[in-house]
């Protein structure tokens, strides 16, 4: 990494940590029934950056990720305390519809889950039900181009999305998310079910997407976190132990636990 890059990152960081953050979790605690899975988690995400969430299995990464777009609302035993602000609005405010939040904070799942419909319909489905009126051909084309899928599928837009390979399906899911023009994209282990080449493609894509979006990615791969993210947060048993510039987290962590985890001693 060039020195200028680091400086830029540092500048970005101080800038973002004050009041230009897109998404900010404040003292978030989550219970499933009596089981507390997040303890006083605070983190701030700023514009156009990639954040990696790392930590051993069961430490609460997915739970935290799903708090940001209120996907945990579907779990009956879910209880949320604290605050998450999205451009200054508390997304857990009783007056706010979770659907509105999810339009601006998209999500990509571990297993690619395109709709059992054509590639074209996969892209236009969400904008259409949300009453957007636009040139669908153009939307489909730009969305697919952004994920680098256009050249691969432009001749079979009417074929089912399920006929694509796993990696293509995952990029289709990202394209579908982008078509809603979100501010933030949450990704929960998006490459967990993909082969190395598809993984590389998604990582490359993340690099490009951060020019427009804030990305929060959960990953079990240290290499992936290092390659794709600007900032990383290490979670352990429901707490964020340490977060900061990715390079620092991996090369000079302040906490012993972080060091042990990134060196593969716990996990």
């Amino acid at each position: 990494m060039l020195i200028s890059d680091v400086e830029q990152l540092n500048e970005k960081m101080s800038y973002g940590l004050t009041n230009h953050s897109v998404l900010q979790a404040d003292q978030v605690s989550v219970h499933y029934g009596d089981n507390q899975v997040l303890k006083d988690v605070s983190i701030s995400l700023r514009e156009r950056s990639v954040y990696a969430l790392i930590g051993p299995s069961g430490c609460g990464k997915s739970t935290l990720l799903r708090c940001f777009n209120r996907m945990n609302d579907f779990v009956e035993t879910f209880r949320f305390d604290g605050k998450i602000s999205f451009f200054g609005h508390n997304i857990y405010d009783p007056d706010i519809d979770p659907e509105v939040i999810r339009k601006s904070i998209g999500m990509v799942f571990q297993k690619p889950n395109p709709f059992p419909a054509s590639i074209y319909k996969n892209i236009m489905w969400a904008p259409k039900i949300n009453g957007m009126d636009q040139d669908w051909d153009e939307l489909v084309e730009t969305s697919l181009k952004q994920v680098g899928l256009w050249d691969e599928v432009s001749d079979r837009l009417n074929r089912s999305g399920l006929e694509l390979s796993g990696g293509q399906q995952q990029r289709l899911c990202i394209a579908r998310t982008i078509a809603m023009n979100p501010k933030v994209i949450l990704m929960d282990e998006p490459c967990a079910s993909l082969d190395p080449i598809s993984t590389a493609k998604i990582e490359e894509l993340i690099e490009q997407l951060k020019e427009k979006y804030t990305i929060l990615i959960v990953t079990h791969s240290m290499q992936q976190a290092r390659r794709t993210s600007d900032f990383s947060a290490f979670m352990y048993q429901g707490e964020i132990i340490e977060h900061g510039i990715t390079k620092d987290i991996f090369e000079s962590p302040r906490e012993r636990l972080t060091q042990e985890y990134v060196n593969g001693k716990i996990g």
């Binding site: 579907f74 939040i101 339009k103 889950n113």
Partner: protein
């Protein structure tokens, strides 16, 4: 060494005995089906020796017990399809709505109350439904519209609808619940509301199951006997009005089987001829159900 050898052999023999036994039972169902089909067709051949196929399929009068006799099966097929189709018109929307409510909206508690009641409804003997039709449904209909006859197709369609409702509701409910959570999640994550997810993701994904539940319901309604005999009466006729009495294939079979029709007469043989028709209709309906399932089947990863 020898000991071991015999032991193993014994296990093997047990296996063979068991397999043979299971095979016998399995094949005996095929045997029974084939037997019934053979009897149906061979007996009806006596009928067709006297009545031409063109009379049977072409004439619009079915008066086998009255002079002048006519043996046109169309009125019976029409009566059958009329009440079964009428039943579907009522039962499909209701059944699908119930299924959607049960699978997507009902709380665990109301589900626990609803499901057993539906199953109970499915277990009521059909003669009770027939009795219910003539003692309750028909009087209500006649109160609402005095033109309606004592025996009428409408009452039969309504009672059939009640009978097939549990079938549609519970198969559709299973189909809807089989739509994977990941499919719903993808809709929610894109900002869709619950009703949008249900209407434009879940129901389309469950469509093959829902359609096949309707086809099965149709085939059940066509084969239903007691309730339609009691409610719709025994007047084979081509009428557009559901206020009048009609006769279904099954009701005709009951009528003749119950009477003292002598063995070997043409009336007696006509039973087998209409039996063949009923059999062919049901085979066709069930085959179309399979086609639909295949055609609409969505593969989930």
């Amino acid at each position: 060494m020898k000991q071991k050898f015999t032991k193993k052999n014994k296990v093997k023999i047990d296996e063979t005995v068991l397999t043979t036994l299971l095979k016998t039972f399995a094949y005996s169902t095929i045997g029974i089906t084939v037997g019934i089909v053979v009897i149906l067709f061979s007996e009806s051949s006596h009928f067709f020796a006297e009545i031409s196929l063109s009379e049977f399929l072409g004439s619009t009068k079915w008066t086998p017990l009255l002079e002048p006799r006519h043996f046109g099966v169309i009125p019976l097929v029409y009566g059958t399809v009329l009440v079964a189709g009428g039943a579907l018109v009522i039962a499909v929307p209701l059944g699908v709505l119930i299924a959607v409510y049960l699978s997507e909206y009902a709380s665990v508690r109301s589900r626990k109350i609803f499901k057993p009641i539906l199953e109970l409804l499915a277990g009521i003997p059909s003669v009770v439904f027939g009795f219910f039709a003539i003692t309750t449904i028909t009087p209500i209909l006649r109160y609402l519209d005095p033109e309606i006859q004592i025996f009428n197709a409408l009452s039969a369609a309504i009672v059939l609808a009640v009978m097939v409702l549990p079938l549609i509701a519970s198969i559709s409910d299973d189909a809807i619940r089989a739509v994977p959570k990941s499919m719903r999640d993808s809709g929610y994550a894109l900002g869709a509301t619950k009703s949008e997810v249900v209407l434009s993701i879940v129901i389309p994904a469950a469509l093959s199951g829902i359609i096949s539940s309707c086809i099965l319901a149709f085939s059940r309604a066509i084969g239903e006997t007691m309730a339609v005999t009691l409610a719709a009466g025994a007047t084979p006729q081509l009428t557009l009005s559901m206020k009048e009495s009609i006769q279904t294939i099954t009701a005709y079979i009951v009528q003749v089987s119950m009477g003292d029709t002598p063995h070997g007469t043409i009336e007696y043989q006509s039973l087998f001829a209409v039996g063949v028709v009923l059999f062919l209709i049901i085979v066709a309906v069930n085959m179309s159900a399979q086609l639909v399932v295949k055609r609409f089947q969505r593969k989930y990863v």
